[in-house]
């Protein structure tokens, strides 16, 4: 290739990137612009495209393009490669990480009492519970490389199990328990549901799991709605679900509707789960998942029962979700099928993908950021548009930063190597190709 050819290719690439930047800017313009309505279906489009807004957005897009292009000049193409193959980084790096986590934990303990009621509630209902959910889904998507799109169904199973065993449903349990005890039942129920669902599906291609769970997530609300005599139907369980309480060895404590006690309970659970999952990731089990993601045939030849490990990841995810369901149910006391609609599954997926699949820190930070942002912006952005933005986040992350904002090192290495065809980076193909 002569120098001139190279230059024209580069110009072509640049031109295309500029085009992408402009189109992207216009899409963002439409997304953030005025809405249309039933009677004026074009008002939103004209209001955002045929107004001064469009010019501003395009200018911003071009500016972004210019910035990225000049920055690109500095980074050579090869540097990405060496980064992908370079040996493990310095130990000091890890020490800084540790310190960072300790600081984060200290902040998580110290800050909430100074927050307003509103933000305390966000910290519990929207961030705390969803951090738990994200950690569970991270096992499925990040560790095992599978896709679960009906994850919230297990959350529903957990919540309704809690309602059942605390005697809040129309059907009575054989014995009424404290919500703490129902955690066990809920986790088991969610796990069984996960295994029942995963068993027929995971034997085949992993990608079928995505659609089967999508369907399951949809029908679980149909069940909750239709089985009036069991679940209480659309109104939810007729009796409020009790709060957590401890009556043991002379200690009597009850969690009330107030947020802080629940916050610290959740924080304790989150830290516990973080430790457990961290141990899991660096164990035989975690390595088996990695092996399956990278090369399923080689994993099986190394003695790994690939089906069993996939099912295990799916069941662990499901039970974590069920666990979170109990906490949620006991906190807000009144649940309806509307709390478990399918789009909540997509929300949790966004938390995991945004944070960084396979990264525990990513799941926590992702959940905190994505759940905090809509609340911070709620005076500027229509809440009804939330899932438009979340969908866009998924697409943009997959195109530009599939490893997420706090990537897991293993995962980002894999994704880089997958581009070179060295590994697979997911567990969605069971059918062995050429061996």
């Amino acid at each position: 290739m002569t120098r001139r050819d190279l230059r024209s290719v580069l110009m072509g690439v640049r031109a295309r990137q500029l085009g992408t930047a402009v189109l992207g800017a216009l899409v963002v313009d439409v997304m953030t612009g005025p809405s249309g309505s039933l009677t004026a279906p074009t008002r939103g489009l004209t209001g955002s495209l045929l107004s001064i807004r469009a010019v501003i957005f395009v200018a911003l897009g071009v500016a972004l393009w210019a910035f990225l292009t000049f920055r690109d000049r500095l980074a050579t193409y090869t540097s990405r490669w060496t980064a992908a193959i370079a040996p493990s980084r310095l130990v000091a790096d890890r020490r800084y990480r540790r310190a960072g986590y300790a600081a984060l934990l200290a902040a998580a303990i110290a800050v909430p009492p100074y927050l307003s009621q509103y933000w305390q509630e966000v910290a519990v209902d929207q961030i705390g519970v969803y951090v738990l959910l994200a950690l569970g889904l991270n096992v499925v998507v990040g560790f095992a490389g599978l896709l679960d799109l009906g994850y919230i169904a297990f959350y529903a199973i957990g919540a309704y199990s809690c309602a059942y065993w605390t005697g809040s449903l129309p059907i009575r349990p054989p014995h009424v328990f404290n919500p703490f005890v129902t955690i066990i039942f809920a986790v088991i129920a969610a796990m069984i549901a996960g295994v029942v669902l995963g068993f027929p599906t995971l034997r085949l291609r992993g990608d079928y799991l995505a659609i089967v769970t999508l369907g399951f997530g949809e029908i679980i609300t149909i069940y909750a709605n239709n089985l009036q005599s069991v679940t209480g139907g659309a109104q939810g369980p007729p009796k409020p679900i009790p709060h957590f309480s401890i009556n043991l060895l002379g200690i009597h404590y009850q969690w009330k509707i107030s947020n802080l006690p629940y916050y610290y309970l959740l924080l304790a659970f989150v830290v516990l789960i973080l430790v457990l999952f961290h141990n899991l990731e660096n164990s035989r089990v975690g390595r088996a998942w990695t092996a399956i993601r990278e090369d399923e045939v080689a994993a099986a030849a190394s003695g790994i029962n690939t089906f069993r490990y996939k099912l295990l990841a799916f069941a662990i995810g499901a039970s974590t979700s069920g666990f979170a369901g109990v906490l949620f149910a006991s906190k807000i006391q009144v649940i309806t099928p509307l709390s478990f609609v399918l789009q909540q599954s997509i929300l949790v997926l966004v938390l995991v993908i945004f944070g960084g699949m396979g990264s525990l820190a990513g799941a926590v930070v992702g959940a905190a950021v994505i759940q905090w942002l809509p609340n911070a912006l709620k005076t500027y952005v229509d809440k009804a548009d939330l899932f438009m933005y979340l969908g866009a986040v998924l697409v943009v992350m997959m195109i530009y930063r599939p490893q997420g904002i706090i990537p897991s090192r293993r995962r980002s290495r894999e994704l880089a190597m997958a581009e070179a065809g060295l590994v697979e980076a997911d567990a969605l193909t069971t059918a062995s190709k050429e061996v």
Binding site: I85, P87, S88, L276, F277, N279, L280, S283, R284, V285, G286, R287, A288, T290, A291, E294, D295, V297, A298, A299, A300, A301, S302, G303, I304, N305, T306, L312, I316, R410, R413, E414, M417, L422, V423, S432, E434, V435
Partner: protein
């Protein structure tokens, strides 16, 4: 032919078809315990298919494959899953190396070693004593194996960063980690340079004599086959066309015909020989 008591692997009239292609036609092969048996044949002869049939990757339409593990009852390998075959004591390498490229050299071997461990999710999460013990033992064995194949000083590098010959040796170490009785090597010397080839020959010999493993070896390099193998089986178009000592096979007219035939045919096509 070996007496029954000595038999380790008994491939009995196996036929494997893919649509119109018959990659194994009524193949029968017996391997004695401790034997280093080579399988040779022109490209597309069905050698890799044989390995895949043994390890449960492919499912033959007819015939049986029996494995006689040391001190255990003979078992049929037909219909078994890949990981079950590994647990029974048969490990393999792949013709086109399949390492876990984004993991370190050490982790690759560790995954092999963990085939025989039992740590489950609960003890892993709770760091129970069993996990700690197994982790320690696994680390130790993995280091020993890396030492054995000469990769100890690369333990913390990524598998993908190793040179080709070292990747081949790493794959062997990973297979050895599963503690097999029978090791299947699919063209271990392919793509290696003369020095690496020499190292590999020594390594394979050590595995066979010092570790006492039986080895089934697919190899195109005749010099390597002649120097290593006790016995050679020749496949062509999915059929066994000859077997015997290296010397016998080398002078077998059918074998010469098979190789010359394909070579002549290739020469006619103008392809590489």
């Amino acid at each position: 032919m070996a007496a029954d008591a000595d038999v380790l692997l008994d491939v009995d009239a196996v036929t494997l078809r893919f649509g119109g292609v018959t990659s194994l036609a009524d193949v029968s092969i017996r391997q004695r315990r401790g034997e280093l048996l080579a399988v040779i044949g022109p490209n597309g002869a069905g050698k890799t298919s044989l390995f895949n049939a043994i390890t449960g990757v492919y499912h033959p339409q007819s015939g049986d494959i029996r494995f006689h593990p040391f001190g255990g009852k003979p078992v049929s390998l037909i219909g078994r899953k890949v990981h079950e075959v590994t647990k029974l004591g048969i490990a393999r390498t792949f013709q086109n190396i399949r390492l876990f490229a984004a993991l370190t050299v050490f982790e690759n071997v560790k995954i092999g070693v963990e085939a025989r461990q039992r740590t489950g999710p609960i003890s892993a999460m709770l760091q129970l004593p069993r996990r700690r013990r197994e982790e320690r033992e696994g680390d130790q064995l993995a280091v020993e194996l890396l030492e054995f194949v000469g990769l100890r000083d690369r333990a913390n590098d990524l598998a993908a960063s190793l040179p080709y010959g070292a990747q081949r040796r790493l794959e062997i170490a990973r297979a050895l980690g599963t503690r097999p009785q029978l090791l299947l090597l699919d063209e271990p010397a392919a793509g290696t340079n003369p020095v690496e080839k020499q190292e590999l020959e020594t390594l394979i010999r050590h595995i066979n004599t010092e570790m006492g493993l039986s080895i089934l070896l697919i190899e195109h390099d005749m010099r390597l086959v002649m120097s290593l193998a006790e016995r050679v089986v020749v496949l062509n178009f999915g059929k066994v066309i000859a077997q015997g000592t290296p010397a016998e096979v080398q002078n077998d007219p059918a074998v010469i015909e098979a190789y010359l035939g394909t070579r002549a045919a290739r020469a006619a096509e103008g392809g590489p020989s």
